[in-house]
């Protein structure tokens, strides 16, 4: 015997070591440098499967019923073959859905059912009691054995000792404290508990090392190896050896019980809450499953290799199999190896502590999420909720352990360790149909799962739990022997007369009812909406998305902002994690101006919030929290209107959508008339979808969105007026924002004008789609309205409408382009016509103007005159005239109105009229100019024109020529063998009102030549830019002195034209040649003046 204090102290030191390791693990997790995220630790943590049952109970079972202790470990080895696809699927689903426990897993699959979650929790709580009791009893009994004292040797007052007759109490207290501290460090149950896992891994190493050490020493120190033990047993008691090493010797040791144990263990290794916790929730990487699949069976192999030898050795050493459960402890003690016994005790303590810790954490998570949470979520969320929940979880851990203690108190020592454990295994396998069916059978539904579990659980209670309590003898009843009310058929351990070993019996009947109910109810009842969604996530988790978008089939009736969701999450998981989660989710998603995500994104966001909360509260509670939050703000999740009947079944575009697209293309290509296209398109929309009104607005020249076409009933307020392109209206917003504006429920509309209109019109939902080609600015808006359907605009529908609007934009573009070309062509034609008319008019004006000039020069005695006017353009401003007073007296005038415009021509005509009137009276030249200036001044000023004018008077009687000049080009006079310019002071007409003109007089002799001209001649520009000039003119004239005046005119004209050639004349050219003759007869024969002679074409000489 060891002293209690030594054992006590060693155990405390060991616990302190576990604390340190767990603390270190947690610290490393916080730093992000995990020590547990590797295959080795993962595999070791799964070996939490090996508990006191394995450590002590296996030897006990091996010594009593023999080899059938093995199926409990062979089963898990077989399941390891399925891990790579089965466990991997569970792990994947759990990670994607933030699963917190096996109850959460199963209830999530069946539509996050709270009832199912609660049922599984109750089953687990009840089912796990014997298992925990087993651990508590193992710890306390082993302590008692090793120290020989009870209750950890604490000096308790007698009174207390009588209150707690069962030694398990202190083990329960120690283990629950340890678990509460490590198992509930944070609320996020879906997160990994690295500290706990690290401690578990260490414990796993300790229990293996301890057991192997004990096994080796017993086998090779106490005996001469395994063979020696068996030979000795054969000699000592061949019957015992035969019983232990073969099957079929008794009812509890048959092929059938072998099969049942194998099956139970296969399911238990996956379905026990603590196994689910370490294998699924604490898994850091799916690839670790690979290593665990062989490392875990290998560990079990090593753990069991000495079980049989120890059992045989124990029987040899003690001569009996009584107390075989603790051979691991008692044999070293018996042999006097106290240190070895202490090591064995530590190993056993490790095995128990690890199991209790993980199991209680897993079960309390379930308890919190599925039993307490449904109550909590009915309360209004408060900021201290996360604190409350964490402490509730701690309370849950303690509760779970004390339930185990309670069971242990009742059942006491009546069961062997292994058999207590098997009671729990039989409970755990009840989850198998719902779980496996849920993973692989899409039809499995909530009704089936609840029905199956409830029935299976009831059978288990009746055939397994209930007898175990009666067996303990606390409740005296003969129900086990005679059945309830004497009905033998209902005997708990031989239901309907079936007599099997207890494990096979319970397994058969519970599975029979469980599976039958699951299958039948699943087939009879339908799956709910939420369930169908979950089936997709569970059954098809590995099926890769095929690239085509899955259309959203849900919408939120009232939009919820991101901030609202974050506030909700903060209340349950704290502010920091809530913000971290949401920013992780948003990533690069688009957020609109109101702080929300797009309407189509909202259901996803809601699901994300649910999932995040599920990580702490469990799926069912999280769903309830979000639902109640939504209903508080007046929103809820509802199905989108199924506008395409195939929206639910088809992942791709529905046939209807394709049909509409096709029809729209036909419409576009069939007609060139925009109005017809628009009419047809709107008719198509109204006919195919449940719309009440559709309007097309196009941007017009005034920048207004003009209603071009509409179809449907009513809507005068909508179609009646054009809309400005302003942000105040939804139409304007869609146009300016270049994106579809839609409201699925006009109740929540915010723009006052729109709200008023829609109220009046009874519009429930609407969409404004910009009519725009890819990348181009919109040309208008396609608007559709519904009076009956809320939630009409699904992502798919909006996409279709956008594509139709895109097609329409192209049609509009084509039509507009064609119209523009047409107009341009017409304008060009009109311009040409106009041009021709003007040209003709000008030609006419030219004819008229030329006809206003004297037809031919007058015949005056003593002089011969020739004159010519060649306008540069159609009309000109040059003018000359003759007024014959007597047969040898003539007045001549040469004028040049500035410019060559029609205006100049008109002024010239006016000048002519005025001049003609004024010339009625005989006036001196200066007088003529003065009067003309006076009369024309106002008109000239108004027209901003002016006139240069030369006025001369030839008097044949005196042979004098008197003249005055109003700024006109000075005429040239050839007299006495040389050229002179006739100059007289005078201002241009139309500059000032009162002008005095100088008048001069020269006498002329025969042979003299007077050349009066306009500046068109001397300013004619040659090829090199040089002007024709006076000198060149005089030279020309000099050459022509002996020619007749008419010939001079021709020659000068020809000279000037040749000079400017090939360019046409820039200015009008007019000239009057007066040659003084000596005879009385006019020397120049009258000759009709050439009319319409083209400028620049010289007349033929004659």
């Amino acid at each position: 015997m060891l002293t209690a204090n030594l054992v006590w102290g060693t155990a405390l030191l060991y616990i302190a070591l576990l604390f340190l390791v767990a603390y270190y693990g947690d610290q490393r997790q916080k730093e992000g440098r995990s020590i547990t995220a590797n295959p080795l630790v993962y595999s070791l943590s799964i070996t939490v499967y090996a508990t006191s049952w394995t450590y002590y109970g296996s030897v006990g079972k091996a010594a009593t019923t023999g080899i059938d202790f093995l199926p409990i470990y062979l089963g898990p080895t077989l399941t390891a073959f399925s891990w790579w696809f089965f466990l991997k699927k569970i792990v994947r689903i759990s990670k994607e859905n933030n699963i917190t426990s096996i109850a959460d897993f199963i209830s999530s699959r069946y539509g996050s059912s709270q009832v199912l979650g609660a049922l599984i929790t109750v089953i687990t709580l009840t089912g796990i009691m014997p298992y925990i009791a087993l651990q508590l009893r193992a710890v306390s009994t082993s302590f008692t054995i090793i120290t020989g004292t009870r209750d950890f040797g604490l000096p308790l007052p007698e009174s207390l000792a009588t209150i707690s007759p069962h030694p398990g109490l202190f083990s329960a207290i120690v283990l629950s404290l340890f678990s509460a501290i490590f198992g509930a460090k944070h609320l996020g149950a879906a997160e990994r508990h690295e500290g706990m896992v690290a401690a578990i891994a260490l414990e796993s190493v300790v229990k293996l090392v301890a057991f192997l050490t004990v096994g080796i020493i017993i086998t090779y120190v106490f005996f001469d190896g395994v063979g020696d033990i068996f030979y000795r047993l054969k000699e000592h008691s061949p019957a015992d050896l035969a019983r232990l090493s073969t099957l079929g010797s008794g009812n509890e040791n048959s092929y059938l019980s072998w099969f049942s144990l194998l099956t139970l263990s296969m399911s238990a290794v996956m379905l026990l809450p603590r196994q689910f916790q370490v294998m699924v929730l604490e898994n850091a990487d799916e690839r670790h499953l690979n290593s665990a699949a062989w490392a875990f069976p290998a560990y079990m192999f090593l753990m069991n290799i000495f079980v049989m030898p120890i059992a045989a050795a124990g029987m040899l050493m003690t001569g009996t199999n009584a107390g075989a459960d603790y051979f691991v402890l008692t044999l070293p003690l018996k042999a006097g190896h106290h240190w070895l016994a202490l090591l064995a005790f530590l190993g056993g303590f490790s095995a128990s502590a690890g199991m209790v810790m993980v199991e209680s954490v897993a079960v309390s998570t379930m308890f919190l999420n599925h039993v307490l949470m449904p109550v909590v979520v009915r309360l209004k969320p408060r900021s201290w909720f996360s604190f409350l929940l964490l402490n509730l979880k701690r309370v849950g851990i303690i509760l779970v352990i004390f339930l185990g203690y309670l069971y242990q108190s009742i059942v006491g020592e009546s069961y062997m360790l292994a058999n207590m454990g098997l009671i729990s295994f039989s409970a755990a396998i009840q989850f198998a149909p719902a779980l496996i069916g849920g993973l692989y059978w899409p039809r499995g539904n909530k009704a089936g799962a609840i029905g199956g579990l409830a029935l299976g659980f009831a059978v288990w209670c009746y055939t397994m739990l209930f007898p175990s309590i009666i067996h303990a003898g606390h409740w005296h009843s003969d129900i086990l022997t005679y059945g309830p009310f004497g009905i033998e058929l209902l005997k708990p351990q031989a239901l309907f007369g079936l007599k099997l070993d207890p494990w096979s019996h319970t397994l058969f009947w519970s599975m029979f009812f469980n599976i039958s109910a699951y299958l039948h109810l699943s087939i009879i009842f339908h799956q709910g909406e939420k369930e169908k969604e979950q089936v997709e996530k569970f059954v098809h988790v590995f099926e890769p998305a095929d690239g085509t978008p899955q259309w959203e089939t849900k919408r939120l009736s009232k939009p919820v902002t991101i901030v609202q969701f974050v506030n909700l999450m903060s209340k349950f998981i704290g502010e920091g994690p809530a913000y971290a989660a949401i920013s992780d989710y948003l990533g690069d998603r688009e957020i609109d101006g109101k702080g929300g995500v797009s309407e189509f994104e909202l259901p996803n966001l809601k699901r994300f919030v649910e999932k995040t909360l599920a990580g702490s509260l469990g799926g069912a509670a999280a769903g309830a929290v979000v639902e109640s939050f939504l209903s508080d703000i007046g929103s809820r999740m509802e199905s989108v209107y199924d506008i395409f009947s195939t929206v639910r079944t088809s992942r791709d575009q529905s046939r209807e959508a394709l049909f509409v697209r096709l029809r729209a293309s036909e419409i576009m290509s069939r007609s060139q008339e925009l109005d017809i296209i628009m009419q047809d398109l709107l008719t198509l929309l109204l006919r195919e979808f449940k719309l009440d009104l559709a309007v097309i607005r196009l941007l017009n020249d005034r920048g207004m969105l003009e209603v071009r076409c509409f179809k449907g009933e009513g809507g005068d307020a909508i179609t009646g007026e054009d809309r400005q392109v302003e942000i105040d209206t939804h139409v304007g917003e869609a146009f300016l924002g270049r994106r579809t504006e839609f409201f699925n429920d006009t109740t929540y509309i915010t723009k006052p004008i729109a709200k008023e209109i829609f109220n009046r019109e009874g519009i429930k939902s609407f969409a404004h789609i910009p009519i725009a080609s890819e990348g181009a600015p919109p040309v208008g808006i396609l608007s559709v309205f519904s009076r009956s359907i809320v939630g009409l605009f699904t992502e798919q529908f909006v996409e279709l409408l956008e594509s139709l609007a895109g097609q329409l934009a192209q049609a509009v573009g084509i039509v507009r382009e064609r119209e523009a070309r047409e107009q341009e062509r017409r304008q060009k034609e009109a311009a040409q016509l106009e041009n021709a008319r003007v040209t003709r008019d000008l030609e006419l004006a030219k004819q008229i103007q030329l006809s206003l000039l004297p037809e031919r020069p007058p015949e005056v005695l003593g002089i011969s005159i020739a004159c010519r006017c060649t306008p540069a353009t159609h009309v000109g401003g040059d003018y000359y005239d003759f007024f014959q007073r007597t047969e040898d007296q003539v007045d001549t005038v040469m004028a040049d109105v500035s410019g060559h415009s029609v205006g100049a021509a008109l002024i010239m005509v006016e000048t002519r009229s005025v001049l003609r009137t004024q010339m009625q009276a005989t006036r001196a030249p200066r007088e003529v100019l003065r009067v003309l200036n006076e009369l024309l001044y106002h008109d000239l000023t108004r027209a901003e024109l002016f006139i240069t004018m030369f006025c001369g008077k030839y008097d044949g009687t005196t042979h004098t020529f008197s003249y005055a000049n109003a700024g006109h080009t000075r005429p040239l006079l050839y007299r006495e063998g040389k050229w002179e310019e006739l100059d007289a002071e005078g201002l241009i007409l139309g500059v000032e009102m009162d002008v005095l003109f100088e008048q001069k007089e020269v006498s002329l002799a025969p042979g003299d030549l007077l050349f009066i001209y306009t500046d068109g001649i001397i300013e004619a520009e040659g090829k090199n830019g040089e002007l024709f000039g006076v000198e060149r003119l005089t030279a020309t004239l000099t050459r022509l002195l002996d020619r007749e005046p008419e010939g001079i005119v021709e020659e000068v004209m020809a000279e000037v034209t040749a000079y400017t050639s090939p360019a046409p004349l820039q200015d009008d050219i007019s000239m009057v040649v007066v040659k003084v003759t000596d005879g009385k007869e006019p020397s120049n024969p009258p000759r009709p003046r050439e009319k319409g002679q083209k400028p620049g074409t010289p007349s033929p000489p004659h």
């Binding site: 080895t77 077989l78 790579w84 068996f230 035969a242 099957l247 059938l256 690979n290 062989w294 069976p297």
Partner: protein
């Protein structure tokens, strides 16, 4: 030749079907009537026959799963590289 054989084996081992086949095979071999063949009270090599059979079968299973997991790990590494 040997390399081809090994690759072929690794490829088969990666198949889910192979896992299922071995799982079923294990179930059959660790149940009646297979067990009855070895269910005799004899001690070859000093160990009870049934015990020896089960331990051997267990060990073989572990080795097989190890091979499976190696094949799967190689597959993973290959996929990660691509």
């Amino acid at each position: 030749m040997r390399k081809r054989f090994r690759e072929g084996v690794a490829k088969r081992l990666r198949l889910k079907d192979t896992w299922v086949v071995w799982f079923v095979l294990g179930m059959v071999m660790m149940n009646y009537p297979f067990l009855s063949i070895f269910n005799r009270p004899v001690l070859p090599f000093g160990l009870p026959l049934l015990y020896l059979y089960l331990l051997t079968g267990w060990f073989v299973s572990i080795c097989t799963v190890y091979l499976f997991s190696r094949a799967a790990r190689k597959e993973n590494e290959k996929r990660d590289r691509h």
